[in-house]
């Protein structure tokens, strides 16, 4: 079966709780974002929850949106990497080879979604916190780029288990850390190429779908479902 991993994120379900953010940090050995790191504006969150304001008090709205890597099929970050440190897998994942990356940061410059993060410092954990690190995920050194991998370690593990059993990976057999944690089920992960999968069906059935910066033509693998707001203006409606 052909595979293209993808996500549907329903903004009408998301409550901005950020469980996805911590889950990703725990799963993927993301360095601890200290206060200094925030001051330096170098915090690393492979998935981040942005909050946008609209209107003025008292008719003010705060809107949340979780943003992981879009895993663009035509990824602008890939073609600018001089050393092939970031590339497209056959399953539609924009992958990062930490060992190969020399840290030119061009990929991050050219990613319109701001989802690539550079290790400006050597990541450090107090000795004891090392014990929490996930042995299936490389700890990145300073000087390399890192980003959402669609939890590749989970994908590989499930595929290996399936192939050992001589079967195909089933839809919903596993999911990414962010999707698994998300209490409102706002994030659904799966194989877009499998029309039977939950993501594919959600993508096909909805009329709320939109892609971030779709006009750039990079074909993101993440589909957002618009938030429903009874106060939405005509203008917003037309978007």
């Amino acid at each position: 079966m052909s595979v293209r991993w993808g996500m549907v994120i329903d903004l009408d379900r998301c409550t901005g709780c950020q469980a996805c953010v911590v889950a990703c940090q725990a799963e993927n050995n993301i360095p601890i974002n200290t206060e200094d790191i925030f001051h330096q504006r170098r915090a690393i969150e492979w998935i981040r929850v942005e909050r946008y304001w609209e209107g003025e008090y008292p008719n003010v709205k705060a809107r949340y949106i979780p943003i992981p890597c879009m895993h663009c099929a035509q990824a602008p970050c890939e073609s600018v990497c001089p050393v092939y440190a970031t590339y497209q897998t056959t399953q539609g994942i924009n992958m990062q080879i930490y060992n190969r990356c020399i840290g030119t940061r061009y990929c991050a410059v050219n990613c319109p979604w701001h989802v690539r993060f550079f290790n400006y410092w050597e990541p450090r954990w107090p000795d004891s916190l090392h014990h929490q690190l996930n042995p299936n995920v490389t700890v990145r050194s300073r000087g390399v780029m890192e980003k959402c991998t669609f939890c590749i370690q989970r994908i590989i593990r499930t595929e290996q288990a399936a192939s050992a059993d001589g079967r195909e990976v089933e839809d919903g057999e596993f999911t990414t850390a962010c999707a698994q944690a998300c209490p409102t089920d706002a994030i659904v992960f799966g194989n877009l190429a499998n029309s039977e999968s939950r993501v594919a069906q959600m993508a096909a059935d909805t009329d709320r779908g939109y892609q971030l910066l779709d006009t750039l033509g990079t074909d993101p693998a993440v589909l957002y479902l618009k938030k429903i707001d009874p106060d939405a203006s005509e203008q917003a409606e037309s978007h």
């Binding site: 329903d10 709780c17 469980a19 206060e35 304001w53 709205k61 009874p230």
Partner: protein
């Protein structure tokens, strides 16, 4: 039926093979369920493979069930337990971060005794002997715990009885009021379950139910369905509160009200419902007995509440017509002098809409299946009661204070003199795993295991509308030289010459767990006790989906009489309402010690590692302050200095400050960050319950002409551009 299918779906969605120890390992008779450590279970090691073990987090999200990924004896990752009905495989930010508790660099590594200004390490046997001696000699000892339930409640209770100690529970005062409101309105102390998945609408009066309030994970799971569940209309959510809370941001409409007027609004809503014919006048006056609803016409109260007449009617319409509907109240609504009235008046609305114990409504919980075996969660003492305790401590009447997982020195305002009281007690023994404020005033520390290293049986509150017990098993060996609180109590009792019923928490949990088999219903359904407990451990607990509350009372037993909120601080002098609020990351301050949560952006402000005061943009302009400007927030009982966050959603007369920061200790990650607004709260109490009315203080704000760098995730411009907005919205789909 539907939920079970849902469970099944989630069950397969966990990573790889979810193996639960219980059934996997055989032949280690006595340690069968206990050990995953490399030492005792070599089988766990050589493959470099992970295992998932089920356990529970009683203190997180109302007591959710989780599975923990263990790799070579180390806890790596927490996920929601897909079998556990409370959270069905889901979790939240705080649950995710609990692994950091285990490997926290500043854990207290073993027992310590005060030595001058600091502490010295002592051995466990010395510590236990010493405490045993103290217990034997104490004339009026006191045992303070968090709101415990189940196994530890029994152990602690029995210990307190043996030691002749008074067992006092400390919890945030908001919940003291909520318990009493539940008692008054529904005749039960148990918190309610909100059947959001089937509800048509919900109106929350101040309860940040998606992120913080009583059972946020459970409610969030329901909320997802509420909004976009298959085969149902999208639910409507209205939020009334003086601050746009994290949850309020998800509401369809947010109505900022004058602080403390939630109850009045509820009465006006009831009034409007009568007008609209949703409910008969007789029925309404039966529910609101003793209240003249006629006095609360929307037009009459609109101005005082800060809501418009239309908005009140809108709430009435939503609740009355978009049924089943749910009305809840919490947070600052409870923390006023009329808090009990506020909550009761709001919760009583559910009677008018016939939403009590009906599908899609507010489901009452019955608590423990057998309170003899497993006591329900014990609610906390009110501030007034604490005032009494503090009096007697200061008078020198308490000679031994034992504190477990409660931090009154941080949670109570300085006006309470708690710190002085702790000084006056001859010996304070703390069982905390971390050096919190109360512990740093202790004379002896006997550190407890962290959550993932413990045994326990917990009765979550709220349960999911039916009876539920969770099993906590140690999924990793203790990382440092701590001992579980329950075990230590047993050892102390034994040393003091009078042993408790059980020899260890493990045996206590096993015994209590096995005796649940005799309940004879629910899951697991094994009859043999050992097998029963084994299955219980494997699935994460026991529950009986049929054990719903049954018939609800038809009307509140007693309706607190309407009251206006009273505020400390004269309006002319103190021109802002101080509004402390609980945050997504640090709750009441318990989780401020975990670096992931310190570094987790506050959903609304995106602030990290700090605290702040939220001001309306116009107010900030008037004061001449901007983001990061330090201001002194001064109440009649003290002042704190915090940086300003200009919040477009802040009402002009409200100064909202997050609770949870301002620790003077509590590990390197929490120490000296921001300020604690509770400190400057006036010692004013809720009139019906004696709980601290922590939202009933007025303050004034004085710019300090100093700017600090404000740590936050958002970079600079707090708006969304109109062309190509990132978050797209649509009216109705």
């Amino acid at each position: 039926m539907r939920r079970r299918d849902f469970l099944k779906l989630l069950a397969v969605s966990t990573t790889g093979a979810v193996l639960f120890t219980g059934c996997k390992l055989g032949g280690y008779a006595e340690t069968e369920f206990q050990k995953q450590s490399p030492v005792d279970h070599p089988a766990d090691i050589p493959f470099g493979r992970d295992n998932w073990y089920a356990t529970a987090l009683p203190a997180v999200g109302g007591g959710i069930g989780v599975i923990v990924r263990i790799f070579e004896g180390r806890a790596k990752k927490i996920e929601g337990n897909p079998d556990f009905p409370l959270n069905t495989g889901k979790s939240g930010p705080r649950a995710q971060a609990i692994v950091q508790e285990v490997y926290h660099p500043d854990r207290i590594e073993g027992p310590m005794r005060r030595n001058g200004g600091g502490f010295e390490r002592i051995s466990w046997s010395d510590a236990i002997t010493e405490v045993a001696g103290l217990v034997s000699n104490a004339t009026s000892p006191m045992l303070v715990t968090e709101p415990v339930s189940g196994a530890i409640a029994r152990v602690a209770g029995e210990f307190a009885e043996l030691a002749g100690a008074e067992h006092v529970v400390y919890e945030p005062d908001e919940f003291v009021v909520l318990r009493q409101a539940m008692q008054a309105v529904f005749g039960t102390e148990r918190f309610p379950m909100l059947d959001l998945a089937n509800a048509g609408s919900i109106v929350s009066f101040g309860a940040d139910f998606l992120h913080n309030w009583i059972s946020p994970v459970q409610f969030s799971v329901g909320y997802g369905e509420f909004r976009q569940g298959a085969d149902r209309e999208r639910g409507t959510y209205l939020h009334v509160s003086p601050r746009l809370s994290d949850s309020a941001a998800s509401a369809d409409h947010w109505y900022p009200n004058s602080p403390g007027t939630e109850g009045m609004i509820a009465l006006a809503v009831a009034n409007a419902m009568i007008e609209e014919g949703v409910v008969s006048e007789e029925r309404a006056s039966e529910v609101y007995s003793g209240v003249t609803l006629g006095d609360y016409a929307p037009s009459a109260v609109a101005e005082a509440t800060g809501l418009s007449e239309d908005q009140i009617r809108e709430i009435a319409r939503e609740l009355g017509q978009n049924t089943p509907s749910i009305a809840i109240a919490g947070g600052s609504a409870a923390a006023h002098t009329n808090g009990l009235f506020n909550l009761a008046a709001v919760f009583a609305l559910n009677y008018l809409t016939e939403s009590v114990n009906t599908e899609g409504g507010l489901l009452l919980n019955t608590g423990s299946p057998d309170t003899e075996v497993l006591p329900n969660r014990i609610g906390g003492s009110s501030y007034s009661d604490w005032d009494g305790y503090i009096e007697s401590m200061i008078a020198g009447d308490v000679d031994l204070l034992m504190v477990h997982r409660a931090n009154p020195a941080f949670g109570m305002p300085s006006a309470s003199r708690i710190s002085e009281a702790l000084d006056q007690v001859s010996t304070v023994v703390s069982f905390s795993s971390f050096m919190d404020e109360t512990t740093s005033q202790a004379d002896l520390i006997l550190p407890d295991h962290t959550t993932l290293e413990q045994w326990g049986l917990d009765v979550p509150d709220p349960a999911p509308g039916f009876q539920l017990v969770s099993v906590q098993q140690p999924v990793v060996e203790p990382f440092v030289g701590t001992r579980q609180f329950g075990d230590v109590l047993m050892a102390i009792a034994e040393e003091a010459g009078s042993s408790l019923t059980w020899s260890s928490m493990q045996s206590a949990v096993q015994e209590m767990g096995m005796s649940l088999a005799s309940v004879g219903r629910g899951l697991p359904d094994a009859t043999e006790e050992r097998e029963f407990f084994l299955e219980m451990q494997t699935q994460g607990g026991w529950w009986d989906e049929e054990s719903t509350a049954g018939d609800a009372p038809s009307a509140p037993e007693e309706m607190p009489s309407p009251a206006e909120p009273q505020f400390t601080g004269d309006e002319s002098e103190y021109d802002f309402y101080l509004l402390p609020f609980v945050t997504n990351s640090w709750e009441y301050g318990e989780t401020a010690n975990l670096p992931w949560l310190q570094g987790l952006p506050d959903p609304i402000t995106t602030a990290v590692w700090t605290s702040w005061v939220e001001l309306n943009p116009n107010t900030a302009d008037d004061l001449g302050v901007a983001l990061g400007d330090l201001v002194r927030v001064e109440s009649p009982s003290g002042s704190i200095e915090v940086p300003v966050y200009v919040n477009p959603a802040a009402p002009p007369n409200v100064a909202a400050i997050p609770i949870g920061q301002g620790h003077t200790g509590y590990t390197r990650y929490a120490e000296d960050r921001g300020a604690n607004p509770i400190e400057i709260v006036a010692a004013q109490t809720e009139s019906g319950t004696g709980a601290l009315a922590w939202a009933a203080t007025r303050v004034r704000i004085e710019p300090l002409n100093e700017r600090v760098r404000f740590p936050r995730f958002e970079r600079q411009l707090p708006f969304q551009i109109e062309e190509n907005p990132i978050v797209k919205v649509t009216r109705e789909a």
